[in-house]
């Protein structure tokens, strides 16, 4: 059990999240990937705060969690609205931002 372990696990989960975000078409699943990435970062922070005997990491993690929650609210609201108007669950087809 060393600091490297935290690093590797965190990196692995983060990349899985990132990859998922890029690859998947369903907005809900993309959101889940974002949560994954956030969680990976939290894990890293907390792990290292333990190894470095400092409280900064934990405090930062708490803040991140708060922000994540707020973001989830907003994000889900957007997705719901889009779904209601367009009945579309394919992110590629929501391209009114084009140009």
């Amino acid at each position: 059990m060393g600091s490297e372990f935290v690093l590797f696990v965190s990196a692995a989960i983060f990349s899985i999240g990132a990859l998922g975000f890029v690859i998947r078409k369903n907005p809900l699943v993309m959101f889940m990937s974002v949560e994954l990435m956030l969680n990976a970062v939290n894990f890293l922070l907390i792990g290292y705060s333990s190894f470095l005997n400092s409280l900064d990491g934990q405090i930062f993690a708490l803040i991140i969690m708060t922000v994540a929650a707020a973001e989830v609210v907003v994000g889900l609201a957007i997705i719901l609205t889009i779904f209601r108007t367009r009945h579309e669950l394919d992110v590629d087809r929501i391209n009114t931002l084009k140009g």
Partner: protein
């Protein structure tokens, strides 16, 4: 002192919109005014002693003034230029008057006179120029004016082609002149006539390479403009233009510019005897060539055109053997009777409703008496019948072909043959057109209006008495030619031979054309192959076409296909296409697709990571 610019003002005519007849008379007034001014210049010159007359250089406008080189717009007023100018403006004025009648029906009346005036202006520049630079300016302007005038009837395709041909050949001459000018500048440090001619005798050894080259290049220009072999093919085709144009340009003025050039630069030419031989040879060969072709043509104007070529050959022969003022004298008399003949031909054409084929004419003697008489006089003068103007000038040329400084018996012999030919073709033309019965009685020919016949009569008078001006001409021009007056050789024997040659030609024409037609058919049969060659102008046009025109066109086409299409078009198009591809690639980033944006973000992240790790 005085302003020859009165004539130049004719240029301001250009593009004015006047009611028809007024415009015509205005143009005539301009040229007439120029003529009067020229007379004034003549008087002025006379008031000075002969030695003084040479160097009147009047600077009109200083143009380029720089270190070591200055160029002024200046004109030289000396016997030679005044002489030429008298001919140009005098005969030119007559032709202007004539044109009022001839071009009466033409709807482009005013444009014609504008061009005519432009031409007189250009010719004046050429003749009055005081240095080689303005000579070339005038030279080129004259070429331009002749292009405009030959191709005047723009709807007529053959006319436009002829104009183009004339211009192209002229330009060849221009090139020669310009190069010669460069060389002159290099040798003498100046382009000024006065400077150059003064320095000429001491600057070169005779037959030095450089002077030979200079004179040869000048000759190229002279031959191109004066339609000598081998740059002559444009002249017969130039008959596509209106007849007054032919009279002005091809009888009296433009074609004589070449002779003027040689006379003007006589200081240079006398330093290059080899070139002189060349001039005389080309002159006499052209005279023969043109005379022979002229014997079998059946378009009135073409016969006269070949006659012009032939007569100018005579003039070149004269200056080539060293008797410059004799050449100029013939220039003057030729201007008279050739313009007369052209205008007379125009009168005939006009009344025959634009018919030019003499085989369709005949018996005009009764229908057009004035034209008949004047044409007769002109023909006599051209053939060199005793006591006409042409007689005197031609006699002198022939005489000097033998006795002149560079003359020899070969020149003389060939000249005699040419004289005989002249008599023949002239009267052949005359008989065909005027005598006998009309071959197309339905054409109803009529005499021309007085506007046209008056100039004819004036010119006829001049053709008769002009010969007696001979001695005056020689004396007047002698200072220009380093004070030499051609000796009058009283070799009775030669004179008799010359006269009989001329008369012989005339009689031959009488024999063949006045008596039955059978002789003609018989002669034609006998000489059939020769006839073919003559008729087709020795196929020179065809030779040129093959040797020069086709290759040039071929090169043009080749460049078009390969260089243009593959090379230039290709690269430019490619460039355009690449840019379009690029922009299309870039526009993907603006697609509005969320996932693309996500991808961008991830890519950015990875890049930074790599950066951090490896730095």
């Amino acid at each position: 002192m005085f302003l020859p610019l009165a004539g130049f003002l004719g240029l301001s005519w250009f593009g004015k919109r006047f009611p028809k007849l007024l415009g015509g008379w205005f143009a005539c007034a301009m040229v007439g005014g120029a003529f009067l001014v020229t007379l004034l210049m003549l008087a002025q010159l006379y008031s000075e002693s002969p030695a003084d007359r040479l160097n009147h250089v009047q600077t009109l406008y200083p143009w380029i003034v720089s270190e070591g080189f200055s160029l002024n717009l200046s004109i030289l007023i000396d016997p030679l230029s005044v002489f030429m100018l008298l001919i140009v403006t005098g005969v030119g004025a007559l032709i202007h008057v004539y044109s009022i009648g001839y071009m009466h029906h033409d709807k482009e009346f005013t444009r014609f006179f504008a061009y005519l005036n432009l031409f007189i202006f250009a010719m004046s520049v050429l003749v009055l120029a005081a240095d080689f630079f303005f000579l070339i300016v005038g030279w080129a302007l004259v070429g331009l004016a002749s292009y405009l005038l030959i191709g005047f009837w723009t709807e007529k395709k053959s006319a436009v082609l002829a104009a183009r041909k004339a211009f192209v050949m002229n330009v060849i001459g221009d090139v020669g002149m310009v190069i010669a000018a460069f060389m002159i500048f290099e040798h003498f440090g100046s382009l000024n006539y006065v400077d150059v001619f003064k320095a000429a005798p001491t600057a070169f050894f005779p037959n030095d390479d450089s002077i030979l080259l200079i004179t040869f290049l000048l000759l190229v220009g002279a031959f191109a403009k004066s339609a000598q072999i081998p740059l002559h093919t444009w002249l017969p085709d130039a008959m596509e233009g209106p007849t007054p144009v032919s009279a002005l340009i091809h009888a009296a003025t433009m074609v004589t510019a070449g002779v003027y050039l040689v006379a003007r630069c006589n200081a240079l030419f006398t330093m290059a005897p080899f070139t002189m031989y060349l001039i005389a040879s080309v002159g006499v060969i052209t005279a023969l060539f043109a005379g022979s072709v002229g014997m079998v043509q059946y378009d009135i104007k073409r016969v006269i055109a070949y006659s012009t070529m032939s007569q100018i050959g005579f003039m070149f022969l004269a200056v080539g053997v060293g008797v410059f003022s004799v050449g100029m004298f013939h220039l003057m008399t030729h201007a008279f009777f050739k313009a007369l003949l052209f205008l007379g031909a125009g009168s005939v054409i006009h009344s025959m409703a634009d018919e030019q084929d003499i085989r369709k004419m005949g018996g005009l003697r009764y229908a057009m008496p004035v034209t008949f008489i004047t044409f007769f006089i002109g023909s006599l003068a051209l053939a060199g019948f005793p006591l006409t103007a042409g007689f005197f000038s031609k006699e002198e040329i022939v005489m000097n072909a033998y006795y002149g400084e560079y003359g020899n018996i070969v020149f003389w012999g060939l000249a005699i043959i040419a004289v005989a030919m002249t008599g023949f073709y002239t009267f052949r033309l005359f008989f065909y057109t005027f005598m006998g019965k009309s071959r197309t009685p339905e054409a109803k020919p009529h005499e021309s209006p007085i506007v046209m016949t008056a100039p004819l009569m004036v010119l006829a008078g001049l053709s008769l008495v002009g010969g007696f001006l001979g001695p005056w001409v020689h004396e007047f021009l002698s200072p220009v030619f380093s004070g030499t007056v051609p000796l009058h050789h009283d070799d009775v024997m030669l004179e008799i031979i010359a006269v009989s040659a001329a008369l012989g030609g005339i009689l031959a024409a009488v024999a063949i054309y006045m008596t039955g037609k059978d002789q003609l058919a018989f002669a034609k049969q006998m000489l059939a192959p020769i006839y073919e060659a003559l008729f087709n102008k020795y196929y020179i046009d065809e030779i040129y076409d093959f040797l020069i025109v086709k290759p040039v066109k071929g090169i043009g086409k080749f460049m078009e296909e390969r260089a243009e299409k593959l090379g230039i078009d290709f690269s430019v198009d490619e460039l355009g296409r690449q840019v379009r591809e690029l922009s299309r690639g870039i526009s993907i980033w603006q697609s509005g697709k969320v996932r693309i944006y996500a991808l961008n973000m991830v890519a950015g992240m990875v890049t930074i990571l790599l950066f951090v790790i490896f730095m």
